[in-house]
Symmetry: C2
Subunit: 238 residues, 2 copies
C-alpha cells in the first residue's frame, strides 16, 4: 500500500498512493506533481494521471495552476480554520451518534494507542504523524459508515498538510493523551463526553498552530529553485 509502482497498476492506485503519502507526511504541501513525472513513475500515460488528479482535486487534496502544474494544496489560514471546524462537526456528530463500543473496536483502538506509544518511544516522527491522524479515522471505521470514513480521511489529509505548514512543534505526548482520554470515555460508554473531549482535543491542536505564519515562507523558494523539500525523504523519488 505504500510503495509506488506495483506490477498491477490498478485504477485508483495513483490517487491512493498520493493520499497515503500525505497521510504519512512523506509529501509536503506545495509539492509539485508533474503529470509527466507521475506518468513515468507509474508507467502509464498522462491521461490516467490527469484523471487521478481530477479526483484528488475534487477531494480538496491537490489543485492545478493553469499551464504550470499540479500541486499538493497549501491550505491558507482560513482553510485551516475551516478544516478544523469541519472535523469538530463531523467527529463530534460521529461520536454522539455512537451507542456501543464493540469488543473488537475496543481492541483495535487499544492496539492503536499502543502503536502511538511505541512510535513516541522510538522517536519516529513521520510514523507518529500518521498514527495521530489515523486514530480519528479508526474511530470512524468503528461506525461502519464508509461515507464518514472517506470524509474524515480527506479531512485528516488536509490536517496533516496544515500541520506541516503551521505547526512549529509537535506536541505528540499531548495529542496521545487526548486520544487516550477519548478512548476511556468511549470504553465507559459515555459518547457525549467522548464527543466533548474530541472537540477539546481538536481545539488544542488548532491552538497549537501558528496561523499568523505565512503558509510558504521558504517552501516557495525551494520549489522555485527546484530543490527538494527540507525533509529527510524527497517527495516522490522511487
Amino acid at each position: 500500500m505504500q510503495d509506488s509502482h506495483t506490477s498491477e497498476t490498478t485504477q485508483k492506485s495513483i490517487e491512493a498512493t498520493i493520499v497515503s503519502g500525505i497521510l504519512s507526511a512523506k509529501i509536503r504541501p506545495g509539492t509539485r506533481l508533474g503529470e509527466n513525472q507521475l506518468a513515468a513513475l507509474f508507467g502509464v500515460s498522462r491521461t490516467r494521471v490527469r484523471e487521478a488528479m481530477m479526483r484528488l482535486e475534487s477531494r480538496g487534496i491537490v489543485h492545478v495552476s493553469p499551464r504550470r502544474g499540479w500541486f499538493v494544496v497549501e491550505p491558507s489560514a482560513e482553510d485551516a480554520i475551516a478544516v478544523y471546524e469541519a472535523r469538530r462537526i463531523v467527529e463530534a456528530g460521529l461520536l454522539r451518534s455512537m451507542r456501543t463500543l464493540t469488543e473488537e473496536g475496543s481492541k483495535a483502538l487499544d492496539a492503536h494507542l499502543t502503536e502511538e506509544r511505541n512510535a513516541m518511544a522510538a522517536g519516529d516522527r513521520q510514523r507518529l504523524t500518521y498514527l495521530m491522524g489515523d486514530f480519528h479515522i479508526r474511530i470512524a471505521e468503528l461506525s461502519g459508515n464508509a461515507i464518514i470514513v472517506d470524509i474524515l480521511r480527506d479531512l485528516t489529509a488536509r490536517t496533516i498538510l496544515i500541520s506541516m505548514l503551521y505547526q512549529s512543534e509537535f506536541h505528540a505526548a499531548q495529542s496521545h493523551e487526548g486520544h487516550c482520554r477519548i478512548f476511556e470515555a468511549m470504553q465507559a460508554g459515555d459518547f457525549v463526553r467522548a464527543a466533548e473531549l474530541s472537540v477539546e482535543h481538536l481545539d488544542d491542536v488548532e491552538m497549537g498552530l501558528d496561523l499568523t505564519a505565512r503558509p510558504d515562507p521558504l517552501s516557495d523558494l525551494c520549489n522555485s529553485l527546484s530543490l527538494p523539500p527540507r525533509t529527510a525523504s524527497p517527495p516522490l523519488s522511487p
Copy 2:
C-alpha cells in the same frame, strides 16, 4: 445555472449541471450518461466529459460500468441507510456547533420556508423536491463553512436519488413542518434542540422509505429498452 449548454463552457459546468439536475430531481437514478452524448450536448470532446465523470464518481454521484457506460448511482438499501446516517451525523454536529443565528440567516431561512409553502400550494413537486433538499444546504451555508456545504450538497444529491428509488409517496407537508420546527428552535437559539429535531426529521424521512423494494424493479427494464424514464421530463434532452 440550470440550462445545459451555455456559450461559455467553463471547467466544471458539466459537473455542476448534472448535480443540479439531480438536486432538482430532473435526472433519475440509473440514468445513462453517455460520454458521446454529453460531449455533443456541451460541445466539447469526450476528454473533458470523462474528467467531469471522474470527479462525479469520486463524489459518489455516478459510477462506471466498464465498457458499458456511466450511470447515475442507484443507491442500494445499505447505501441509503449509510447516507441518512451520515447526514444525521453531519447535520446534528453542524447545528450543535452553531452559536448564533444572524439576522440575514434568519431572513434567508424564512424566505426559503415561504418558497416551500408556495411550491406546496402550486403542487410543483419537482421544485418541492429541490427545496426540501436545499433547506439543509442553506443551513450549512449559514455556518460559512464551504467544506460542510460541499459535503451536505453531495449527500443531499444522493438523498434525492434514494427518495426517487424508495419513496413511495412524498409527505411534503410533514417535511415542511419539520423544517419549520428546526427553524423555530434555531431562532430561539436552542441549537441543541435544533440538532435533535434535525435527527428526528431525518429519521422520519428515512422511515418513510420502503427499503425492501428492489432498487430497480423496472427502471432497469426502461434502460435496457432504451426508453425514457417514467417521468415528465426526459433526462438530458436540450
